[in-house]
Homo-oligomer: 381 residues x 4
Amino acid sequence: MSETRKLRMGMVGGGPGAFIGPVHKMAAELDGKIELVAGAFSHSAERSREAGAGFGIDPARAYASYGEMMEAERKRPDAIDFVAITTPNNLHLPIAVAAMEAGFPVMSDKPATASYEEALELEAAVKKSGLPYGLTHTYAGYGMVREARAFCASGKLGKIRKVQVEYLQGWMTKPIETTGHKQASWRADPAFNGPGGCIGDIGIHAFHLLEYITGLEVTGINATLRSVVEGRRLDDDCNELVRLNNGAGGVISASQVAAGELNEVRIRIYGEKGGIDWRQQDPNKLVVRWLDGPEEIRHAAAGYLSADARGVGRVPPGHPEGYIEAFAVLYREFAEGLLAWRRSEKNPLPTTLPGIAAAVRGMRYIERTIESSRKEGWVEF
Amino acid sequence: MSETRKLRMGMVGGGPGAFIGPVHKMAAELDGKIELVAGAFSHSAERSREAGAGFGIDPARAYASYGEMMEAERKRPDAIDFVAITTPNNLHLPIAVAAMEAGFPVMSDKPATASYEEALELEAAVKKSGLPYGLTHTYAGYGMVREARAFCASGKLGKIRKVQVEYLQGWMTKPIETTGHKQASWRADPAFNGPGGCIGDIGIHAFHLLEYITGLEVTGINATLRSVVEGRRLDDDCNELVRLNNGAGGVISASQVAAGELNEVRIRIYGEKGGIDWRQQDPNKLVVRWLDGPEEIRHAAAGYLSADARGVGRVPPGHPEGYIEAFAVLYREFAEGLLAWRRSEKNPLPTTLPGIAAAVRGMRYIERTIESSRKEGWVEF
Amino acid sequence: MSETRKLRMGMVGGGPGAFIGPVHKMAAELDGKIELVAGAFSHSAERSREAGAGFGIDPARAYASYGEMMEAERKRPDAIDFVAITTPNNLHLPIAVAAMEAGFPVMSDKPATASYEEALELEAAVKKSGLPYGLTHTYAGYGMVREARAFCASGKLGKIRKVQVEYLQGWMTKPIETTGHKQASWRADPAFNGPGGCIGDIGIHAFHLLEYITGLEVTGINATLRSVVEGRRLDDDCNELVRLNNGAGGVISASQVAAGELNEVRIRIYGEKGGIDWRQQDPNKLVVRWLDGPEEIRHAAAGYLSADARGVGRVPPGHPEGYIEAFAVLYREFAEGLLAWRRSEKNPLPTTLPGIAAAVRGMRYIERTIESSRKEGWVEF
Amino acid sequence: MSETRKLRMGMVGGGPGAFIGPVHKMAAELDGKIELVAGAFSHSAERSREAGAGFGIDPARAYASYGEMMEAERKRPDAIDFVAITTPNNLHLPIAVAAMEAGFPVMSDKPATASYEEALELEAAVKKSGLPYGLTHTYAGYGMVREARAFCASGKLGKIRKVQVEYLQGWMTKPIETTGHKQASWRADPAFNGPGGCIGDIGIHAFHLLEYITGLEVTGINATLRSVVEGRRLDDDCNELVRLNNGAGGVISASQVAAGELNEVRIRIYGEKGGIDWRQQDPNKLVVRWLDGPEEIRHAAAGYLSADARGVGRVPPGHPEGYIEAFAVLYREFAEGLLAWRRSEKNPLPTTLPGIAAAVRGMRYIERTIESSRKEGWVEF
């Protein structure tokens, strides 16, 4: 293939009423390297066609099932180059496996699977297939998260001692899953979401950011999961203490019943020389507080940033980039990785792109958090 | 044509080193209604081809001049549907006129032309052609600017009494136009930028936001333009008092030598009952301060916003949208307007999309500001 | 006595190099109801005299020991009206007991004593004496903390479900107690500070704010105390999960090794209808986030605040009050309580002033936190 | 006299309902160097006595008029050491003159007099008397304003090019002076307030901050004063362009009808290398934006601040100081200056304390602004 043509994406999920499907499309296409050309957008053939029309794709390529899509696409001369998975969690594994068996690389929404056991299965399948696998931990795509990561790696903070991570939302404050709210309904149902509720939906982002930015690993968890809303079958609130592999300690707090919060993702990391602070709702800044000097605010796209941070931006300093742009960074890196893999490069996927290792860690995190909460105390990771 | 196919855009400008060309492409394509298929990206045929390859378009449609593009495209069965203008200001008029003479609607970067006289010429050409004309006053595309506009129109603030608008940058603090900086070089040269420097580049955004949000008109100007950097041929700083047609008064301040500022666009509007405050660097909020109650922060995408504000967002509250998304709102509205025009609807362009009227007002603003500064006192608008 | 004369305060502690002694003086005197007239400022007679001269008191009333002060003052016709305790923690109990035995009401810095056992002893002494006892949990004196408290009591948030409290400092990031830093030296020494380090110095403030604002009680603790700095004898970092008596849960995080943080006291409380958020470094605001409406910022001294909040301010909205003013609110309430007690009113101390009950709760908190950390799991409060 | 005794203050003004009188008292006394002992608090003898009782002073020293106070106090062995003036503006000059004729140094609220002519008279009287004269431009007492001033003086910003100063309030949005509001009534009446309304009440603070921090002088003014509220006799809104003596330019904006604003005092100063930004409602920070590096936030009381800034604080970093503390800094400096003057030191008043020169500049500013607005154009300062 010519590297100048766009990579062709086939999407599973993203039918009418979905939030994340359209985001995947916009993000995938933003940098001009990928186009959505096919999809199995719904398990209803009609709704899949409807979604396909909305996305402007060839009606013949709006399939009624992902199996049908894999089957049909592999035979086309202009077949899709990879599969994007945007369904509820319970389908992530079977779709990923089917895609890889059909020879398609996979870009999956998080969490990678519905359980830790499934994650191990996925890992085996990825290894066996040798195909690129990416995981859209969106927040990892923000420029200033890259700056934070480079900051930690540079040693400027000294040894890391303490972390505070939070991910607070309020949209499930009421039992909206009982009143037909599509997003809430599957998230509150273990059959679709897996055993973790809030912890699997957003706690996992907090955990991933922690390990992604610090480069450290969580080694112990002491968690309390609660189902605050009466009758809710999965957790909607999580507070936990964590230990890291360098001796540092900290807190992860996640909630979907923090009434009034929108999407408050924040991570603070303290080392021997200072601390850093990033908030997703003001994403183009990284606050650095020094033990012995003025507080600093580093701005996205500025010339003084690390190469990693500068490399992902599209507009000059002071012109905000947001959620879709961060998401698009991951797709851009996946596209680059996919091309590198076709050129048979070793380790083709950029290390900045979350992949199968992050997938397994994340599912392990959910499993361990649930176990800790069940036994009301510390567990090893 | 089928309305489901994407509209085809031909772009003039946006060659290697340009900032705004790639932004136009990303913005135009974000919502899946438009695709860039052709362009005259540079007056160098080779550089145009190079840019075209970067954008992934058919090499045959990377033209060496806009004239060539109009000529060739009008003959194609898959001709472009409209022309996007992203060149330095001096070319805006001739390109727009050529496009309209060739029957192509126009989406133009601001300022609309290089002088007020040219703007009148443009207005005549638009009227004569009957073609849709849109102007990318980016900030008008932000959801919370729409909320601010709806707020003013609703009368919730009572009669408007005072406005404070600022647009502060620092990137031209040093004489960078003398050292090969592409963006700065043409902006500091009257032959390319027209007679206004800072006032034409960013002051015009501040002015547009003022009229766009309040629905009022500036009727008097008392301005001081300065070329702060020694040897600079155009103004790089502007402070001015303004009078509005309802008796309100205020200040517009714009600068490209406010060292340390990135892209500080802020507008505050005070009425009899309260005031509103919007900052582009924190664009997903609108601050409302009431005379008799707590301060309010309204968040993008929230259910309590006006229909105008809610209508433009793509992601849930708390997931930031930024500059590219705001830009894309204007392209989306232009696309909708273009289709409505093809269906022969009356007034096909949405009133929320800046058009030829804003183009003329903006150029008049530059002309009047320069005149006021020259005579060091008030001028009628 | 005439109620118009100022109450006379005798202070123990606050000698040269102390931070909190001078704050007590300024705070006590700010509202014109109290004056410092005597003191045992240091266990060195000379340094006590020196401090007395600095404070501008009669040299004859700068005593060499608190015992001497009690003895001498009780005989004077213009005796002190009460004793303020501002020493290291290990002396709080003996001084309070001596003062009460001499008939003097007591206003004490926190923590009330050096251990929970001592707190019970103190409680018995206070009950036996029948004298007013106040505790300077400074943050309880901020107007917007009063607003937060009134907000919770009013039921506007609905049932409280989740709390996040943090108190982060960085000043003990290095082992400064080994290099002659007066403040750090006694705080890092169990003989002076008691068994809790960070938890006793600042964690207790976080705990107090939690119970003070919500009106709830902590019933369970799951804590990790760490001595992050090598060789430090007391904890300098604390993370803990808590359970409250209404079923709510949450997190308290306190640190003195959060490098770069100054004095970050923040409390967030989430109920069924919304959440509130207060930060000491921006103390004149209370942020209220509603589940179904715009975020609100309530400003100190505004007319729309609760009577409790309005009652404590001194200047109009927009004129910031700070730490000393908050401290002074407690002294003002203590003075009012003291006068009410002299008039033999029942329950003379305002319920808004932390007293002996808070003293006991606080010391229990320290004791329980240490116990939880020792056994690495949940303990009942 | 012994320098250890407190200086005795006699206050004129500050009777029941006054805002600024009690602030003067708290501020004067905060640092333990001054005590209020006498006053002519109202032109009603009864109300003066009432106020005196509230302040806790000897009833014999609550005088019915300032003349009576001067007369009586000069004869006392424990006479007041100076006079503080806190009345409406029209009385500032006669009281100051009377005080100085009686041999009393003067600390006056701003504006210094009711007109520029009076300011010249005052200047002559001060010179003739040789007595210390201080002016309470409160904002000059903030530590971070001192830091800003030191920053400009240090040359770290390079040559200053642009200033933006604003002082926005909303409390006179309605015609409250017609409904018995004491503060508003005299401020809206030229007989009490002088010819400037908003400009004299708060615009003068903005002007003073500008000259105080930059060390530059305003040389030209182009102002628009408006009486926005119908029937109001004095201006309630002011926008103006200014020129400075080094060629810099800028804007001053002041309003008392900016509905919803509380007390928004903000100054931004841009030089060749960066800019600084200070807001009174967040007073313990100074934002520094560099052309070529991360934004900085400097915090009050930090070790890295200039000596001038560190010298004025009372509490450690992170413990906010506010309006009363800033005010108290001026009184402390006045007390120090008064003692230095008694020791016959040359130039006894600290240069950081606004004095008679600032008084004259300020009144000139009001006069020139009114003149500029009258002629609708530039005037020389």
